[in-house]
């Protein structure tokens, strides 16, 4: 397929932090219209992979591209929206002010109304960010990711801090976005989330891809026993993987 049509791609990406290899020669491609889950335990390299894709870090080897272009150039990120794990968003701006500001970064953003509707923020637009609940704050993060009407979304652990109700609501919003023909790459350490949302799962452990495919295929590749649950398969695949130490 034409490289410019691939929303996000890592090619042979290696990234070291000190002695630890956070990523080892990772090849990963998000296909158009696909929801891809990057699944793995804490420390597996999920956030590093996302950071390389968004141009936040430079790989030691290999390359990262968004629609065939380098993510290190701001203008090449206009077709992608991102939701990262953040502890602090300016508290003294309102929801609408935050959305308007981020919309200004994109050439063809959604209208404020459309973004508020898609993120479930209608009625909260005049509230200061600092006065919102945890679930509402996460909806603002989702709104900032989609306000530019991007063709692809990159979501880093989008529901890790949410209660069940907020989590299900965010799943529904992600599905609604995918239903418009868009692509989504999300990281999670939650099997149920990967199973519920993704067309394809890539299991990452200690900076390497240890399995890839549908939930059923992942179960099969972990031993082929018919009764194996996704949990068992996941543990079999990721256990015994330790971050690899390499000589400096």
């Amino acid at each position: 397929m034409d490289e410019n049509l691939i929303p996000a791609r890592l090619r042979g990406v290696t990234k070291r932090y000190g002695l630890v290899r956070a990523l080892s020669e990772i090849d990963l491609a998000l296909q158009p219209g696909e929801t891809l889950a990057l699944l793995g335990p804490n420390g597996a390299g999920k956030t590093t992979a996302i950071s390389a894709l968004l141009g936040l870090i430079k790989p030691d080897a290999g390359s990262a591209t968004l629609f065939g272009r380098s993510p290190r150039v701001a203008a090449n990120r206009t077709r992608v929206g991102a939701m990262l794990q953040v502890s602090g968003v300016p508290a003294t701006l309102t929801v609408a002010e935050h959305v308007r500001l981020f919309s200004a970064y994109y050439p063809h953003p959604l209208s404020l109304e459309e973004t508020l509707e898609a993120a479930g923020l209608r009625g909260l637009e005049k509230r200061l960010y600092g006065t919102l609940s945890g679930g509402q704050k996460q909806r603002v993060a989702f709104a900032l990711a989609i306000c530019g009407d991007p063709d692809a979304l990159v979501l880093d652990e989008p529901t890790s801090a949410l209660d069940v109700e907020s989590r299900l609501a965010l799943w529904a919003r992600i599905r609604a976005y995918v239903a418009r023909g868009r692509s989504v790459l999300l990281t999670t350490h939650d099997l149920a989330e990967a199973d519920a949302l993704a067309d394809r799962i890539v299991v990452l452990a200690a900076g390497r891809i240890v399995a890839e495919g549908s939930a059923a295929a992942i179960k099969a590749c972990a031993g082929g026993r018919a009764a194996l649950s996704l949990e068992d398969a996941y543990l079999a695949l990721t256990r015994a993987q330790r971050p690899e130490e390499v000589p400096a």
Partner: protein
């Protein structure tokens, strides 16, 4: 595109700070309060050199005020946004990074202008300070534009200081430097040891540049501007280094 984003970004920054007493109080209220107390209430008509205390301290405490706007706005603003991951969200977006810095500079310069206007108002209304229009303009321009090198130094601190320690780091630098540069007490009144060190401090040169607009005998304006420009370059270089070093780091 960059101009459009810079404008949106500046509007958001101004709104954000206007609702934040933790920024407004130290940057606006403290310099105006100090000036009201030392420059007006405590005998503003006393002579200092060829001028009065009210006029002299308008220049030096004005410098103190604009330096605070720039240092706090940049150092604390950037350190917090970087520490909490907010800067990462912006860097993952298509926002041109230049717009982020330009907006922060426009914001701190606006607050510097507000401090200068407030203090000039106090000086003229309650301190009996009378200056020719050209002198008011020269003083105002020296102070407002003079805040820019400190924005660069604040930017460097914002990328080098720890996110939680940035406010303390700024105070540890800002307050002693202001004192040693004669911004609180005229430089002639300081112990000779400190007065000898002062010319090595950027704060001293802004103080002297501002004083030079109202009375003679404060050195060459061109030299002060040149030294401030060198400090600004050093700040930008240190910030670029700190930003590179920071890449890929996250803070809980």
């Amino acid at each position: 595109m960059i101009a459009h984003v810079t404008l949106a970004e500046t509007r958001a920054e101004l709104t954000k700070y206007a609702r934040l007493p933790a920024y407004l109080l130290p940057t606006l209220a403290f310099p105006c309060g100090f000036y009201s107390f030392f420059g007006l209430a405590m005998g503003g008509s006393q002579p200092i050199g060829a001028t009065t205390a009210a006029t002299y301290l308008l220049a030096t405490l004005g410098a103190f005020g604009v330096i605070g706007c720039a240092l706090f706005g940049f150092a604390v603003g950037v350190a917090i946004e970087r520490g909490q991951g907010w800067l990462l969200v912006k860097r993952a977006s298509p926002m041109p990074l230049a717009a982020y810095f330009a907006a922060k500079l426009a914001t701190t310069t606006t607050f510097a202008a507000i401090v200068v206007l407030l203090m000039c108002g106090l000086a003229s209304e309650f301190g009996g300070v009378r200056l020719p229009p050209a002198t008011w303009l020269a003083l105002g321009a020296a102070l407002i534009l003079g805040s820019i090198p400190f924005a660069a130094l604040g930017l460097a601190l914002g990328f080098i200081a720890g996110p939680n320690s940035a406010p303390a780091v700024v105070n540890v630098i800002y307050l002693p430097l202001s004192f040693a540069s004669g911004l609180w007490v005229p430089i002639e009144g300081l112990p000779p040891a400190i007065a000898h060190v002062a010319p090595f401090l950027p704060t001293y040169h802004l103080g002297q540049l501002a004083l030079g607009t109202i009375s003679p005998g404060h050195g060459s304006a061109a030299v002060h501007v040149l030294i401030l420009a060198l400090w600004a370059l050093a700040g930008v270089a240190a910030a670029a280094y700190g930003m590179k070093r920071d890449e890929g780091r996250t803070y809980g």
